[in-house]
C-alpha cells in the first residue's frame, strides 16, 4: 500500500508517494537519492543512518517514512551551505575524525545537535552525545578531539 507524504528535506519541500512499509532511510536513499545517509545495521543499533528530524537526531532506519509526514528533515547533504563545508565538517577532517567515513554523516549530525543545544560541552557530555553512534575505525579519540576543538566556537548556524 502506498501513501502520499510531505517532507521538508534540507530546506526543500517534497511530496512523495511512498510504500507504507518503507523506512525513512530507504525513502531518503532510494526515492530521493540522498545516499549520504548510511545503512549500517538497519535495526537501530549503529547510528550510521542518523538524520535530524525537527532538529533532533533519529535513526532513520527505525522510522517509517509515513511517520515523518510533515516533518523537517536534515541529512548530511544539507549540512554544508553553498558548497562550503560546515565548521564541524572542516574540523572533523582536520583532526582525523574521519577514516572510512561510513559513520561520519551520523556523527556529524549528532555533533550538530549537541553543539546547537550546548555550544560548550565537556568531554563527558561529548562522549555521551555520540554514544549511540558506533565508529569501528577511529576508537573515537580523534572524534572527541574534534568536537572539543569545536566547543566554545561560535557556530556558523
Amino acid at each position: 500500500m502506498k501513501k502520499v507524504i510531505k517532507l521538508t528535506v534540507n530546506g526543500m519541500e517534497k511530496e512523495l508517494l511512498v510504500d507504507v512499509h518503507s523506512t525513512l532511510l530507504d525513502v531518503l536513499r532510494e526515492d530521493l537519492g540522498l545516499k549520504g545517509t548510511k545503512k549500517g545495521c538497519n535495526q537501530g543499533e549503529c547510528g550510521a543512518c542518523t538524520v535530524l528530524i525537527d532538529g533532533n537526531p533519529v535513526p532513520s532506519c527505525s522510522l517509517l517514512a509515513v511517520k515523518a509526514d510533515g516533518k523537517d528533515v536534515l541529512t548530511i547533504e544539507g549540512v554544508a551551505e553553498a558548497g562550503k563545508l560546515h565548521a564541524i565538517q572542516e574540523v572533523f577532517n582536520e583532526k582525523g575524525a574521519i577514516q572510512c567515513g561510513f559513520c561520519t554523516p551520523g556523527m556529524i549530525l549528532v555533533t550538530k545537535k549537541l553543539l546547537d543545544d550546548n555550544p560548550n560541552p565537556d568531554e563527558q557530555e561529548i562522549k555521551e552525545a555520540i554514544a549511540g553512534n558506533i565508529c569501528r575505525c577511529t576508537g573515537y579519540a580523534q572524534i572527541i578531539e574534534a568536537i572539543m576543538a569545536l566547543a566554545g566556537r561560535k557556530q556558523v548556524r
Binding site: 545516499k35 548510511k38 543499533e45 577514516q99 572510512c100 561510513f102 561520519t104 576508537g139 573515537y140
Partner: protein, 795 residues
C-alpha cells in the same frame, strides 16, 4: 633526519571533504538503470547432504529474472589459500553438501528485494542432516565426522603465476582428521634449551571468534555489457586486483574483460579480502540476465558469512634462566578455521610469523594446526594471528615474571630483538625500535608507581582495584601474495600538477592521503597539486592490496619511484632550457627547477613540461614506478615450514594498560592505554595516530567484550546490541607514542602502522587485571563472569 615539507605533517585527508559531506560513493550507493536485486539462500543446517534442489516454483514468480544453484557451477573452485599444497576448497554455491549454517545454496536476481526474498522461500531444498563437529579439538579425533571428504585438484593461483610447483606434492586428497593445514618450525636445540633452563612453565590459553564489524555491510553491483563483452563490478574490497583475479578464475573469463570500479570502502579490517559467493553470484547473474545485479548483505549475513577471527587454543612452554634470559620455547596452536580452509594455513603460519620477531629465543619449536569444523568460515582479521599469539605469549611471560619475582619489563627488555638482528628465516631487522617502544609505553603508564606487584601490600581490600600490564608485538609490512607487487603511474599536467594512478584502495586507513604526500614530497609540488585516481582495475596499475599492512611500504615505494621518474624527466627538460649539461647541478622544489649554485636561474615545471612536449618527441612526462618486497621469487614464505623471507620490514609496538576491576560485579574498565608504535617514520602523524587508536580500540573490544556466540554452529549474537563493540563512553585515556626507526627500504623511512598494535591490548589488559586483583584469566574476552568466577575460586 632530513626535514621534509609534506611528509610527516598531519595534513587533512584528501577524501575527507567527500566523506564529511555525504558525497563519497560506497558500493551500496551505486545504482544502475534496470538494476536487479539479488538474494542468497543459505543453509539452515551445519552439516547436511543436499538431496535435491527444486527452483521451479521460484522461477515462475513474476519479477524473478535469474536463479543459480550449485548444480550450475560444479567445477568452480577458489579459495584464499590456493597453493599446490592446499588446493582451493570453496565453491560459490554448495554442490553436494552444506558445511555450516549460512553456507550458500542458491542465488536469485529479481526486480525488487521483496520479490527476491519471496523467491528464496519458494526454492525447495531437501537435505539429509549428517553428524557435525563444532570444536577443533573434537574435529581432530579419529571418529569425528569429516567436513571435507572430496578430492581436490586443479591448478592453483600460484602455479598460474609461474611459482614453481614443488615436486612430489600430491594435492591432498582429503583432510585427514579434519586438519586443513599444519605449520612446523624448529630451530636451535629445543631439548637442550629446556635443560639449560632454571625454570620451566607451561600455560594454555583460549580465544573466541570475533567479528570485523566494518560499519559498511558488504555489497556488490555487477553489470555485464554484452556488446563490449565486459563485466563491470563495484565491490567493497581491500584489493581490486585480487578480486578481479578471483572473478576471472571462477567465471572463466579473461581478467581484461573485467573492470573493478572505484568505490569507497566503509571499513574492512581484513574482512573484505576473500572473494565471497555473493560477489560471484552477482557477476554470474548479470551475465545470465543481461541486467545489472546488486546484492547487499544485511548485518546478520555480514556477521555469519563474511569471515571471523580464528578461535584458538594455544599452549606456550618456556624455559628461562634465573636472570630472565629465555633459553627455549615450545608453542602449539590449534585454530578452528570453520567449514572451509579460509585463511587457516596462513593464520597458523602467521602466529609463528608474529611470535618469532619479538623475542630472541635461541631454541624454538612451533607447531600449528588449522582445523575444519562446521562453524562459520574464518579469515584474516586485523593482525591476523597476532592478537591470539601475543595474548598467549605475553600473558605467559607475565606469569613467568611472577614465578621468578621479576618485573616482566625486565624479561621483555632482556629478550627483545634489536635493530640489526637477523631472525631465523633470514629476514633482517633493518629498523627495530622495540626497546624504545617498551620503555616509552612503560613510562607513559607510570609503570614503576602503578604496578601493584612491586607494592608492599598488593592485595587491596577496596571494591575497585587498579593494576597495569604490558604486552609487545610485531607485524609485517606487506608480504608475498597475489599480485605480488605494486606499481604507480604519475601523469604530469600542463600546469605542473600531477595525477597519481594507483591500484591501492583507501579502506579508511588514509592511503590516498599518505600516497599523495609521498608523491608531493618527492616531486616537489604541493598537496593541492596532487590528484588521485585509484581503485579501478582499468585505469590503475597493479597493486598488492590494502592488507598485510603493505600499502605504506610497498605501494608507497612504487609511488616514490614514479615521482622520482617524473622529476628526472622534468629536470632533463629543464636542463636544456637552462643550458645546464648535468642535471646533478639542478634541484627541484615548489614546481620550479633551479640551479643549485644560482637559484635565480630557474624554470617552472609548467615550462619544462611544455618544452618536453615540444622538444622531446611530444613526451608529456609520465612517471612510472614499481616495487616488490623481494627480487627473488624462489624465497616465498613456505606456509608449512616457515622458510623463506616473510616481509621487507617489521613494525613493532608496545602496549601498556591500566584497568580498574569492580570486584563486586567483575566488570573491568580500561582507564588508560599507552601504545608506542615503531612505524619507521610517520608519513602523516594524524593518520598514524588514528591507526593506533583504531587498533587499540579493536584490541580493547577483543580483550573485554567481543565474542561470537555459537551454539552447534548457530550464531546467537549477530547484532550490535549483543555483539558489544567499544562505544564512545568506553574510550580510555589514550597516550600514543610514535617511535621513529627509519626503515631503510620504506618511503621516507615508513613501514607498517595499521595492524600491529591491535595485538598488544589483550595481554596488556589480562596482565593488568592480574595486577589489580591477583587472578589470571586465560581466555579471551575477559567478561565479568570470568572475573567473578576467578575471584571466587582463586587458584
Amino acid at each position: 633526519m632530513a626535514a621534509y615539507n609534506i611528509v610527516g605533517k598531519g595534513v587533512p585527508r584528501v577524501d575527507g571533504p567527500d566523506k564529511a559531506s555525504g558525497k563519497a560513493i560506497y558500493t551500496v550507493d551505486v545504482s544502475l538503470p534496470g538494476m536487479l536485486y539479488g538474494k542468497i539462500l543459505r543453509s539452515p543446517y551445519a552439516h547436511a547432504r543436499i538431496i535435491s534442489i527444486d527452483t521451479s516454483m521460484a522461477e515462475k514468480l513474476p519479477g524473478v529474472k535469474g536463479i543459480v544453484t550449485g548444480r550450475d557451477l560444479r567445477d568452480v573452485r577458489y579459495a584464499f589459500v590456493d597453493t599446490p599444497h592446499y588446493p582451493a576448497d570453496e565453491q560459490p554455491l554448495a554442490v553436494d553438501k552444506v558445511r555450516y549454517i549460512g553456507d550458500e545454496v542458491a542465488a536469485v536476481a529479481a526486480e525488487s528485494e521483496a520479490v527476491a526474498e519471496k523467491a528464496l522461500a519458494l526454492i525447495k531444498v531437501e537435505y539429509e542432516i549428517i553428524p557435525a563437529v563444532f570444536s577443533a579439538i573434537e574435529a581432530m579425533r579419529d571418529d569425528a565426522p569429516l567436513v571435507h571428504d572430496e578430492q581436490l585438484e586443479g591448478t592453483s593461483a600460484w602455479e598460474e603465476w609461474g611459482v614453481t610447483k614443488r615436486k612430489n606434492i600430491t594435492a591432498s586428497s582429503y583432510a585427514a582428521n579434519n586438519v586443513s593445514g599444519r605449520t612446523f618450525v624448529q630451530y636451535g636445540d629445543v631439548d637442550a634449551g629446556f635443560e639449560e633452563a632454571d625454570h620451566i612453565r607451561e600455560d594454555t590459553f583460549e580465544l573466541k571468534a570475533t567479528a570485523h564489524c566494518p560499519m559498511e555491510p558488504h555489497a556488490v553491483v555487477a553489470s555485464y555489457d554484452a556488446v563490449q563483452d565486459k563485466l563491470h563490478v563495484w565491490l567493497s574490497t581491500m584489493g581490486i586486483f585480487l578480486k578481479r583475479f578471483f572473478l576471472s578464475k571462477t567465471l572463466n573469463i579473461p581478467a581484461s574483460k573485467i573492470r573493478v570500479h572505484h568505490t569507497y570502502v566503509g571499513g574492512a579490517f581484513g574482512g573484505k579480502i576473500d572473494l565471497f559467493p555473493y560477489e560471484f553470484c552477482a557477476a554470474y547473474l548479470t551475465i545470465k540476465t543481461g541486467q545489472p545485479v546488486k546484492i547487499e548483505l544485511d548485518r546478520e549475513e555480514v556477521f555469519m558469512t563474511t569471515r571471523q577471527r580464528h578461535p584458538m587454543n594455544i599452549t606456550v612452554r618456556t624455559g628461562i634462566k634465573k636472570d630472565g634470559i629465555i633459553t627455549a620455547q615450545d608453542i602449539k596452536v590449534i585454530a578452528d578455521n570453520g567449514a572451509y580452509r579460509g585463511s587457516g594455513p596462513v593464520v597458523i603460519f602467521l602466529c609463528h610469523g608474529f611470535s618469532f620477531p619479538v623475542y630472541n629465543v635461541p631454541n624454538y619449536r612451533y607447531e600449528g594446526f588449522s582445523v575444519y569444523t562446521n562453524n562459520p568460515i574464518r579469515g584474516p582479521q586485523r593482525g591476523h594471528g597476532a592478537p591470539q599469539i601475543r595474548f598467549s605469549i605475553d600473558s605467559h611471560i607475565d606469569l613467568i615474571a611472577r614465578d621468578l619475582g621479576m618485573d616482566p619489563l625486565e624479561i621483555m627488555l632482556k629478550n627483545a630483538r634489536k635493530q640489526g638482528d637477523v631472525i631465523p628465516n633470514g629476514d633482517v631487522l633493518n629498523s627495530c625500535g622495540l626497546t624504545e617502544c617498551i620503555k616509552g609505553a612503560a613510562a607513559a603508564i607510570d609503570w614503576k608507581n602503578k604496578r601493584r606487584q612491586f607494592q608492599a601490600s598488593p592485595a587491596s581490600t577496596g571494591r575497585f582495584r587498579r593494576g597495569v600490564g604490558i604486552s609487545i608485538c610485531s607485524m609485517f609490512s606487506g608480504a608475498m601474495y597475489y599480485p605480488f607487487a605494486s606499481a604507480a603511474i604519475i601523469k604530469m599536467h600542463d600546469d605542473g600538477s600531477a595525477t597519481l594512478f594507483t591500484g591501492a584502495q583507501d579502506i579508511g586507513q588514509g592511503s590516498y592521503t599518505t600516497l599523495s604526500q609521498v608523491l608531493a614530497e618527492e616531486l616537489g609540488i604541493g598537496m593541492e597539486d596532487v590528484h588521485v585516481v585509484a581503485g579501478d582495475t582499468e585505469l590503475c596499475p597493479i597493486d598488492l592490496g590494502s592488507f598485510l599492512s603493505g600499502t605504506a611500504l610497498v605501494t608507497g615505494s612504487a609511488v616514490k619511484l614514479a615521482a622520482a621518474d617524473a622529476k628526472r624527466q622534468i629536470m632533463e627538460s629543464a636542463a636544456e632550457l637552462l643550458g645546464v649539461d648535468n642535471i646533478g647541478e639542478l634541484d627541484a622544489f615548489n614546481k620550479k627547477v633551479f640551479q643549485r649554485q644560482s637559484p635565480d636561474n630557474y624554470v617552472t615545471y609548467q615550462q619544462a613540461i611544455q618544452a618536453s612536449v615540444l622538444r622531446k618527441g611530444g613526451n608529456p612526462i609520465i612517471g612510472t614506478g614499481s616495487y616488490k618486497g623481494y627480487e627473488k621469487t624462489d624465497r616465498y614464505p613456505s606456509l608449512s615450514k616457515g622458510k623463506g623471507l616473510f616481509t621487507g620490514a617489521y613494525g613493532f609496538a608496545a602496549q601498556t594498560a591500566e584497568v580498574e576491576v569492580d570486584t563486586w560485579t567483575g566488570k573491568v574498565k580500561l582507564l588508560r592505554a599507552c601504545t608506542f608504535h615503531d612505524c619507521g617514520y610517520p608519513l602523516n602523524e594524524t593518520i598514524v595516530r588514528g591507526q593506533i587508536h583504531g587498533c587499540s580500540s579493536m584490541g580493547q573490544g577483543q580483550a573485554l567484550s567481543e565474542e561470537i556466540y555459537l551454539e552447534e554452529g548457530q550464531l546467537f549474537n549477530a547484532s550490535f546490541l549483543e555483539y558489544r563493540l567499544p562505544i564512545s563512553t568506553d574510550t580510555p585515556e589514550l597516550v600514543d607514542g610514535i617511535v621513529i626507526s627509519q626503515e631503510p627500504s620504506g618511503p621516507f623511512g615508513a613501514k607498517e602502522v595499521g595492524e600491529g598494535s591491535v595485538a598488544g591490548m589483550l595481554a596488556a589488559v589480562a596482565n593488568a587485571v592480574h595486577d589489580a586483583v591477583g587472578v589470571r584469566i586465560k581466555s579471551m574476552p575477559i567478561t565479568p563472569e570470568k572475573v567473578l568466577r576467578a575471584l571466587n575460586n582463586p587458584t
